[in-house]
């Protein structure tokens, strides 16, 4: 048991740097202009998209983090699903992936073997090829992928571009950050952890393939900045989203753990970052925490014409992952996000 605790110090997307800190640093970098760079830093999008020809662009992304579960094989699956997700959030197809590994020299190499096996399985499930990688001896374990995909430049899902009356749909339940944190301190039930793992190891490929058939106005995957952090990026201070907190899918144990104050640092950082844009009409503490909860390998959050919403939801429900219409877009009101 001792060893495993060292393996998992609390990671996943809760280990991300705070959005505020990050923005501060990124804002200082010079922005190079290239007409073929269709998606870069500016919109804080999920992946970079570079146009090769009129109907072909490459999508590139990179994601890695420390373990958030004790089983190395499951960790490998989660880390890979999370990294691959950025391609799906853009509407692309996965082609190749490279491993990124940090691993302590003295740790049992079988553990690394299990991590990479888990990761490779997800790359294969995604229809991609694991083509190499890079490893570094480091004090702590970290793993992830650099993924390259392809996309038609005319069919990119940007993470902004919502329109008034649009419906917002979320394709996975929230709360995996809280549950993984509770698990780390021995407070999570097995069932809760199983649900979280099921959600985190599920590729967004399937949801992405369904929504590609519709006109999507904006799409992102919900990861470290939590639902509200990513929604804030989507709205760009130009529109307001009215969320129905009762409709938001979450793993029900996360609600109890939030009320037990199993609170992450990353969740609080997210709260600090977006709180000022939010009007909470509900004072349900646990729901608030869930909405700020950093997600590892979270679902897709997208904005779509109201006429298409129920049809697309029906298709998504066939994936057997809790998903729901969680709110709608209006013109900009006093606050950017209103939570009923």
């Amino acid at each position: 048991m001792g060893k495993e605790i060292v393996f998992c110090k609390g990671g996943g997307c809760t280990a991300k740097l705070g959005p505020e800190v990050l923005k501060h640093v990124l804002d200082k970098l010079p922005k190079v202009k290239d007409p073929n760079l269709l998606v870069g830093f500016e919109g804080s999008d999920d992946a970079a998209v570079y146009r090769i020809s009129d109907d072909l662009a490459i999508v590139q992304t990179l994601d890695f983090f420390p373990p958030m579960v004790e089983d190395p094989y499951v960790f490998g699956q989660i880390a890979a699903a999370n990294a691959l997700s950025d391609i799906y959030a853009m509407g692309g197809e996965v082609k190749t992936a490279l491993n990124i590994v940090c691993f302590p020299e003295k740790m049992d190499l079988n553990i690394l073997g299990k991590i990479l096996t888990g990761g490779n399985e997800k790359v294969m499930e995604a229809g991609g090829i694991l083509a190499g990688g890079h490893s570094i001896a480091d004090a702590d374990v970290k793993y992830g992928l650099s993924v390259t995909g392809t996309i038609n430049p005319a069919k990119i899902f940007k993470n902004s571009g919502v329109k008034p009356k649009d419906k917002l749909i979320l394709t996975k339940p929230l709360g995996v950050g809280i549950i993984a944190t509770a698990n780390r301190v021995g407070e999570a039930s097995n069932e809760a952890m199983e649900k979280a793992i099921k959600s985190m190891t599920t590729l967004n490929k399937y949801a992405s393939e369904i929504i590609r058939k519709y006109e999507i106005h904006a799409c992102t995957d919900v990861t470290g900045f939590g639902l509200l952090g990513h929604l804030h990026e989507m709205l760009q201070n130009e529109y307001t989203a009215v969320l129905q907190s009762k409709s938001v899918p979450y793993i029900k144990e996360a609600y109890d753990y939030a009320n037990e104050f199993l609170l992450t640092a990353a969740g609080q950082r997210n709260r600090n970052f977006v709180e000022n844009y939010i009007d909470f009409e509900t004072d349900d503490f646990a729901i608030q925490e869930i909405l700020f909860d950093p997600q590892t390998s979270g679902g897709l959050l997208f904005s779509i014409n109201p006429e298409d919403a129920s049809k697309i939801l029906k298709e998504l429900e066939s994936l057997e992952m809790p998903c729901a219409i969680i709110g709608e877009i209006t013109k900009l009101q006093e606050k950017e996000i209103i939570i009923k």
Partner: protein, 215 residues
């Protein structure tokens, strides 16, 4: 009864969990928690607020913060929300960019004299003392207080306003006294709060100020 938990070096949610455990076993008294980052402070105060307990937080150094959570039978059950909010505002002031800042964006208070208004000087001095005290009670604190000419006498040893200025400084308000003025009154060695400044800095601070308050 007071219990102290040193949760420095612990990652969230451990400081909260440890505190919760101790709170469970106490019926009255206070729990004092040491943590090493502001986010942990916010998570602890978030819990205290949710549990309707009275709390204070204080930054000692860059990696040492203290959160005190009071636990008293009955009396605290209907803690006046307002007073909690006030205390929180007073004590949680921070310069870290991640934290709520209770200082008002570039409001500058200028104190050009040790007394307030024209007329009786003794009255003027009492008024000035009252004014500086009133500053400490403002909901939004100024960013900077500039003291020059007779005002330089307010930030030195023996000044009636020293405690109030120190309190303001501890909450992140910049206290700057004109060096030339200190020299002129030969009280340079008696400066007891804030730091010395020059006319360039004074001019620049005033230029940048969104609002200047001059009693």
């Amino acid at each position: 009864m007071k219990k102290t938990i040193d949760a420095r070096g612990m990652q969230c949610p451990l400081p909260v969990i440890e505190t919760k455990k101790v709170l469970k076993d106490l019926t009255d008294g206070m729990v004092e928690v040491f943590v090493d980052n502001e986010i942990a402070v916010q998570n602890l105060t978030k819990m205290a607020k949710q549990m309707k307990l009275k709390y204070l937080s204080e930054k000692i150094t860059q990696d040492h913060y203290i959160v005190r959570i009071e636990l008293a039978p009955k009396a605290l059950e209907d803690v006046d929300k307002e007073s909690n909010a006030n205390q929180e505002a007073k004590l949680a002031s921070e310069t870290d960019q991640c934290c709520p800042d209770i200082r008002e964006e570039s409001t500058v208070v200028v104190l050009p004299s040790d007394h307030m208004g024209e007329g009786n000087e003794q009255l003027g001095k009492a008024l000035m003392k009252g004014f500086i005290y009133a500053l400490t009670e403002l909901e939004k604190l100024p960013k900077t207080i500039l003291l020059y000419n007779g005002g330089a006498k307010l930030s030195v040893e023996g000044s009636d306003s020293l405690e109030d200025l120190k309190l303001l400084e501890s909450q992140g308000v910049e206290i700057l006294t004109c060096g030339t003025c200190l020299n002129f009154y030969e009280i340079s060695d008696k400066l007891s709060v804030g730091s010395v400044t020059n006319m360039y800095a004074i001019a620049e601070i005033m230029r940048k100020a969104s609002k200047i308050i001059k009693p």
